[in-house]
């Protein structure tokens, strides 16, 4: 079974050169979006991040974009099984992937039996409804 919960964590967008993004892509909660963009989920010091990346790319952008995202979390032994009903993405043991989940672009963070789906706020209800429908037998 899997537990489903929805939260609105802090999300910081870092946009900069590939070198600048590489600096932050290994931080906890980091979700590389492209070689020149990283989303960081969780509390992050924007000032510290900005200072770090702007040393490499002076006009890199670091912004709080929390309002743009909602986190649907699947947790428990059935979390990966539930995810497999929503997406053809292959989950790593831990780390992040991005791609179509319930047919919309989602950033996925995974650690053991916990799968975090970072979904654009405007699509949060759509993804939630798809999870509740497709995975109904698996949800606690």
């Amino acid at each position: 079974m899997a537990e489903l919960s929805t939260t609105r964590p802090g999300v910081t967008a870092v946009l900069g050169s590939a070198e600048a993004c590489e600096l932050v892509s290994a931080l906890p909660g980091a979700c590389p979006v492209s070689p020149v963009e990283v989303a960081i989920v969780g509390d992050a010091s924007i000032t510290a991040l900005r200072q770090a990346v702007q040393r490499v790319d002076p006009d890199a952008v670091v912004r709080d974009v929390s309002d743009g995202w909602v986190l649907h979390t699947l947790r428990g032994p059935g979390a990966r099984e539930a995810f497999a009903r929503l997406s053809e993405l292959e989950l790593p043991a831990s780390g992040s992937v991005q791609g179509a989940v319930a047919r919309v672009g989602v950033r996925v963070l995974v650690e053991g039996d916990r799968v975090d789906l970072l979904v654009p706020s405007m699509l949060a209800t759509h993804v939630l409804e798809r999870i509740e429908d497709e995975c109904r037998e698996l949800l606690a």
Partner: protein, 858 residues
């Protein structure tokens, strides 16, 4: 032991332990299991392994069930699909006698003339074909759809498949093992089955192997991805490699009488005898030319069957029991009816002999089930076990090549004579191999037929046909289970709109309010007082980085180099052909960055366009799609500023925030980027705010506006408001090949710029007269609500010269107005004499309302 009864066409039939539906019916005396597709010939049990179409019946209202591999359950309702009035006495069997009327490719030859008779013929054909009726009003069943990522997918859980799965797992691979049937269900009881079950236990104990028995592999697609389905589940498997252990079927040969009830493949006959204890006939003739065939002969005799003759090669003579006559190296010529097998003709040393019998058992070769590899050349697929055999070449000497589609050897001869001279085009013309067995029975016979003749012509292409999914029958409901098309985007104000009684509808992938009540009241509020609209659906982008000015200068044809910080400008987006793809508003900031808003439906395309040109031009630009992060509320109307001022300490007057300016303001304690826009033609403030604060901001604005009679307005009111201003909707009012000049938007193009996307095309097009233009129209003596005119053709004289793209009746102007594209004559629009429906139309300048823009600058 009897386990109750099933209902078969009104009568009770006992079900015994281990029975399939077919074995129960056969034991009870049923010999005709189905009628063939076209000729309505009787068909009886044949392959016994779930391949051929002969045993398909309707079980509990579900048609197309293969009774030979379906366990019988007490209480089942079983019927035969085809047959009028019944499968036993089918009057449509007359079609078998009218073969000249239904030759090969008959659908292109007969029922063609007279044409007026076609509808009647079509109804008749529809009623006569099919294999049972789908139940009506049945609730869709739940099918779980999931993806599985594995190192190896093993298809087929016989001995070879089980070994392959174990070997992979022991090499530390993740394995998925599937089989269309329960493991071991195709093997007769005995040592072989015991060994298989022991092997199965090992596999099931292996944690790296997921076993999906009862799941058929339907097709191999790019990736590779393999669709694997059961009645309640569709698994899309993404393997790194595929092992096909699908085994082989017994070979189907074409000879006269080969489709008569009483002709059995060896596996079906021996299973019926050994597993179900059912005698398939009183007098059997067995034709066996393989080791397996000899085993079947032994099995039948051991089960007490009366085998009167066995046609075998010389090497097998010792295996023929003394009770049966051994006919050495004999050749089966035909099976004779009528209605069922009553005798067979065998040629022995040049002489034909008639052997009376009521069952003919054939075991003459193997046909590997290799369709999945023939479906996906180039994919990493390995064949093991019987599936890897070269297979035998079947004889085609009359009778039926394709049992599913009723294609006889004679039909194939005729098609060949008509010029269809390869297996692939014979397949298309005759439909052989396209029926429910998916070519498992007939594919080799068709290929053999073509190969035998292709040396007589240099056009022939011998070889098997490409296989197509699904390789096994599957319910459309199972395939459709993965399809969920609706994606609904919502703004933060969704619940607020619902609470206000809004009528929501689709717009660019979003659910948006079209009206909250009477759109006329909403319109009046905007024109006379103030209105609020949720415009959080607009695409919103931050464009930053040192090359941001260069990007916007090149992506948009509009002059933007002189756009001062704090100012905004309407911009067009062109494609490289110079056609208008989108539009938006660009706001410049002091740090060299920009905020761009695009149309609701065009946001994703705009995002892609900006990223593509950043890449192609090699610019250092940071692009952030803020559509989801920002909400936006438009406050518009002559009292908009009065509504906002009590909520903000920031200066909102024309000096601080004039038309086409923008600024950072705090409204009701919420930080907003306020853009002075004029889409509706009134004083307007677009308040872009953090999405999470949307409901709070909306409530504060509503409360503040109560004193002025503020109203929320939706898309219906907006349609009229923007049309009065002559503003177009890209998509609704434009065509895919509209240039700025055709739309009257030259002002948004600065041709003095060195380069922009689409410039070269616009320069070339400038030399060509405009074929049409988007123009404003006023209508007279038309319908009371001019919106009815939208989409109607525009006539000049008797000729269509255009089409109305938008139309409405304006209460403020007291007339009907619209936009239309109209064909030009030598670059000029026709001056008069236009009609749209019953309305007289006259070309009129736009904007219709407040042409000098005094109100929106207020």
């Amino acid at each position: 032991m009897t386990r109750g009864t099933l209902r078969f066409e009104g009568r009770g039939i006992p079900v015994e332990d281990g029975d399939t539906v077919a074995s129960a019916l056969f034991r009870a005396g049923v010999r005709t299991f189905s009628r063939s597709l076209k000729s309505r010939r009787r068909r009886g049990l044949y392959c016994g392994t779930g391949e051929c179409p002969n045993c398909t019946v309707t079980v509990d209202d579900l048609p197309g069930v293969r009774s030979c591999v379906t366990p019988a359950e007490a209480g089942m309702r079983v019927e035969r699909g085809r047959g009028w009035p019944s499968a036993e006495h089918d009057l449509l069997h007359v079609t078998d006698l009218m073969h000249p009327l239904m030759p090969v490719g008959f659908y292109m030859k007969t029922f063609v003339r007279p044409r007026f008779a076609w509808p009647a013929a079509e109804r008749l054909i529809r009623r006569a074909t099919g294999s049972g009726r789908l139940p009506e009003g049945r609730e869709p069943s739940r099918t779980i759809v999931r993806h599985a990522h594995v190192d190896a997918l093993v298809v087929g859980a016989g001995a070879a498949g089980l070994s392959a799965a174990l070997e992979s797992a022991r090499a530390s691979e993740r394995v998925l093992l599937c089989d269309a049937f329960p493991i071991g269900s195709q093997v007769a009881p005995g040592p072989a089955l015991d060994a298989l079950h022991a092997h199965e236990a090992e596999v099931r104990a292996e944690p790296a192997i997921e076993v999906l028995d009862g799941h058929a592999a339907l097709g191999v697609y790019d990736g590779p991805t393999v669709a694997v389905a059961s009645a309640g589940e569709l698994v899309q498997v993404h393997p790194r490699r595929i092992v096909l252990a699908t085994g082989a079927t017994e070979m189907h040969e074409a000879f006269p009488g080969n489709d008569l009830p009483g002709v059995w493949l060896g596996r079906a006959a021996s299973r019926m005898a050994a597993r179900h204890g059912v005698s398939i006939g009183a007098r059997l003739v067995v034709v066996a030319s393989t080791d397996e065939g000899l085993e079947h002969l032994g099995t039948l005799v051991a089960a007490g069957a009366n085998v009167t003759a066995a046609v075998v090669p010389a090497a097998f003579v010792d295996g023929v029991p003394p009770s049966a006559e051994a006919i050495v190296d004999g050749e089966l010529v035909s099976a004779r009816g009528p209605g069922r097998v009553r005798s067979v003709i065998v040629r022995e040393r040049g002489q034909e002999r008639r052997l009376p019998c009521d069952a003919l058992v054939l075991s003459t070769g193997l046909a590997p089930r290799d369709e999945l590899v023939r479906m996906a050349p180039g994919e990493p697929i390995e064949l093991v076990g019987d599936a890897a055999l070269a297979g035998d070449v079947p004889r085609v000497a009359g009778g039926y090549i394709c049992l599913c589609e009723d294609v006889s050897a004679h039909d194939a001869e005729q098609a060949w004579a008509e010029g269809f001279r390869s297996a692939e085009i014979l397949k298309r013309y005759t439909t052989a191999t396209m029926g429910p067995c998916r070519g498992a029975m007939c594919g080799r016979a068709l290929a053999a037929f073509a190969a035998a003749r292709s040396d007589q012509t240099d056009r022939g292409a011998p070889g098997r046909t490409t296989a197509r999914p699904p390789s096994r029958p599957v319910a459309l409901e199972t395939l459709a289970a993965s399809v969920h098309e609706v994606i609904e985007k919502r703004t933060s104000l969704h619940e607020t709109h619902l609470a206000a009684g809004a009528e929501l509808g689709w717009s660019g992938g979003w659910k948006r309010p079209f009206a909250y009540g009477d759109p006329k009241d909403e319109y009046a509020a905007v024109r006379e007082r103030a209105g609020l609209m949720d415009v959080g659906t607009l695409g919103t982008f931050l464009i930053a980085g040192r090359d941001a000015p260069a990007l916007v200068d090149r992506v948009f044809p509009t002059r933007v180099a002189d756009l001062a910080p704090g100012r905004s400008r309407y911009v067009l987006a062109l494609d490289e052909a110079g056609y208008v793809a989108d539009d938006g508003v660009l706001c410049a900031f002091g740090d060299g960055s920009y905020l761009l808003t695009s149309t609701t439906g065009g946001a994703e395309r705009m995002d892609a366009r900006l990223r593509e040109w950043t890449h192609r031009l090699g610019l250092h630009v940071h692009l952030l799609d803020r559509t989801s992060e920002l909400g936006a509320i438009l406050v518009a109307g002559p009292r908009a500023r009065d509504l906002l001022e009590p909520l903000s300490d920031d200066a909102l007057g024309t000096d601080a925030l004039p038309h086409a300016a923008h600024g950072e303001v705090t409204v009701a304690g919420i930080p907003c980027t306020a853009i002075r826009t004029g889409f509706v033609g009134e004083l307007g403030f677009e308040l872009h705010h953090p999405r999470s604060r949307g409901p709070e901001l909306w409530s504060a604005l509503m409360r503040s506006g109560e004193a002025f009679g503020v109203r929320a307005f939706g898309l219906d009111a907006l349609e009229l408001l923007r049309l009065e201003k002559g503003h177009l909707y890209v998509g609704q009012d434009t065509m895919p090949d509209d240039t700025p000049a055709k739309l009257g938007l030259d002002r948004a193009v600065d041709t003095s710029k060195e380069w922009f996307v689409g410039k070269a095309a616009l320069e070339r097009l400038a030399a060509i007269p405009l074929g049409r233009r988007l123009a404003g129209l006023t209508f007279e003596s038309g319908p009371p609500d001019a919106a009815e005119l939208r989409g109607t053709p525009v006539f000049a004289g008797g000729e269509i010269v255009g089409r109305v793209t938008s139309a409405a009746t304006s209460p403020t102007l007291g007339r009907s107005i619209g936009l239309a594209w109209i064909r030009t004559a030598e670059g000029e629009l026709p001056a008069d004499g236009l009609r749209a429906g019953d309305a007289l139309a006259t070309v009129a300048p736009t904007p219709f309302y407040d042409p000098d823009g005094e109100r929106l600058r207020g």
